[in-house]
């Protein structure tokens, strides 16, 4: 196979791409989770004039393809003075996308907490803040674990979309190699295997965590 030398040449770029994919994924997940939590709390406890606009923004993000959002951010951004390099634009876009979904997941978790658990805290004399911190957030975490793991997987897969704005992540690197060497289908196959391995690992980790937390489940 004469492609081997070409592959060896492209290897550093592909490895860099893999690292960037992992970095973008983890950073966007963390940012999305934190921002999503802030949105969920603001919507759950804030006044209507906070809830309404957030509801609209979340709705728009959830109601449009990520591909379109990232185009808007990257190519449309300069029109409103937001000129970003591909990688920060990709990270910001993915984090916002994640935040919208995480906010809905976490809000659902907050709403699913039995009101009696909160009332029990009030009767014991816990303050509002203590109830949120000591009761609601831990219970919410348990309730949203499966959906959150699922969202992490979605975010990993969506990093591939960032290749469209030339973020040099894994998909960009591998398809680049593929088109340079007329090996599109091989490249696609490799990508599929790598993403699938990563998502399976994530899912497995999630299931492990769920089993560990099983005894905290509501009776």
């Amino acid at each position: 196979m004469s492609d081997f030398s070409a592959l060896r040449e492209a290897m550093p770029e592909i490895v860099d791409g893999l690292w960037l994919t992992l970095a973008m994924w983890l950073a966007a997940s963390a940012l999305g989770l934190v921002l999503g939590l802030a949105i969920a709390l603001a919507r759950r406890f804030g006044p209507v004039w906070v809830d309404r606009p957030l509801w609209a923004v979340v709705g728009v993000i959830r109601g449009t393809p990520f591909l379109v959002q990232i185009f808007l951010l990257y190519y449309g951004g300069p029109f409103i003075g937001l000129e970003l390099d591909p990688t920060p634009a990709g990270l910001g876009g993915l984090a916002l996308y994640g935040a919208a979904y995480f906010s809905e997941i976490l809000r659902g978790g907050l709403l699913a907490i039995p009101p009696g658990h909160v009332e029990a805290g009030m009767c014991i004399g816990l303050s509002r803040l203590q109830i949120v911190r000591r009761i609601m957030l831990p219970e919410m975490t348990l309730l949203v674990l499966p959906a959150s793991v699922n969202m992490f997987v979605v975010l990993l897969k969506e990093t591939a979309v960032l290749s469209i704005i030339t973020v040099p992540e894994l998909t960009m690197a591998v398809t680049g190699f593929g088109s340079a060497n007329f090996a599109f289908s091989q490249a696609a196959l490799v990508l599929a295997i790598v993403y699938w391995t990563l998502t399976e690992l994530t899912g497995g980790l999630g299931r492990l965590l769920e089993r560990r937390l099983d005894r905290f489940k509501l009776a």
């Binding site: 039995p114 009696g116 658990h117 009332e119 029990a120 805290g121 009030m122 009767c123 014991i124 004399g125 816990l126 303050s127 203590q130 000591r134 009761i135 831990p138 219970e139 348990l142 099983d214 005894r215 905290f216 489940k217 509501l218 009776a219």
Partner: protein, 261 residues
């Protein structure tokens, strides 16, 4: 006058939209007594009890706990949150659904208020929590999570959690209603021993036997009003009130026949 009373209610009204659930309740809860609230489903028992803990805000009337207005003063000004919390500290609540916090052990549930509200050091809080678990017979289950406990055990932990805060009055809303029949006894026994120790208790219950044998004060609620109240012995000995008689007769089928002559 009211400082001799644990809780007083005067003209308490509660509405949900156009549905008036409590229609002017006047009631005195005396120190050291067990008061049982009975009545048909939907008569407002839970609502009344929850008003006494300010889990529901009454729309009119005045509630005093140990002499102090709860939630609103006599002129219907809303009291500050800190004052509400202070007055509410007199009250412990035990729910039908236990409402233990699932991510904390039995000990953690009981110690939570001691740590977070009373700010006791960890060891002291755990010792006190342990003493309360021992009192309800669950010292050996201290490190169990609620999901690992039976319903009866969970409810006893919930009672220990309420008692740990040293309330003057404990409110129970059908504490045995979500338990399998063979588990109600252990909970009723704990409640009976509490009553024997002189705890002031208000108990919403369908356990007519418990009401007849443990309560000093019986309140029969019907359609949001106190239809009848008095010494438990008198009320049961002579259920002259037609609605009460009708209500009690539904229990004849369930084996509470001892009560009616």
């Amino acid at each position: 006058m009211s400082d001799t009373l644990a809780i007083t209610l005067r003209g308490v009204v509660k509405r949900y939209g156009s549905n008036t659930v409590l229609r002017g309740i006047d009631l005195d809860i005396r120190h050291g007594e067990v008061t049982c609230l009975i009545g048909p489903s939907g008569s407002g028992k839970s609502t009344l009890l929850r008003c006494m803990a300010f889990l529901e805000e009454h729309d009119a009337g005045l509630i005093r706990v140990a002499g102090d207005p709860l939630g609103f003063d006599a002129a219907r000004n809303r009291l500050p949150q800190t004052e509400i919390a202070r007055v509410r500290r007199n009250i412990g609540m035990v729910f039908q659904q236990f409402n233990l916090w699932p991510h904390m052990t039995a000990l953690g549930n009981v110690a939570e208020g001691l740590r977070q509200v009373l700010r006791l050091p960890k060891r002291q809080a755990q010792e006190r929590a342990m003493a309360h678990l021992t009192r309800v017979g669950l010292a050996d289950r201290a490190s169990y999570y609620p999901s690992q406990l039976s319903g009866g055990q969970q409810q006893r932990v919930a009672i220990a959690r309420a008692l740990a805060m040293d309330p003057k009055i404990v409110l129970f809303d059908e504490p045995t209603s979500s338990l399998d029949p063979e588990l109600t006894g252990e909970v009723l026994n704990v409640m009976r021993s509490l009553a024997d120790d002189g705890m002031t208790m208000v108990v919403v219950t369908h356990e007519i036997g418990f009401a007849a044998h443990v309560a000093q004060h019986l309140v029969f609620l019907d359609e949001g009003q106190v239809a009848l109240e008095g010494r438990a012995g008198d009320v049961f000995a002579q259920p002259w009130h037609p609605r009460l008689r009708q209500f009690l007769e539904t229990y004849l089928d369930r084996g509470a026949s001892v009560l009616l002559g």
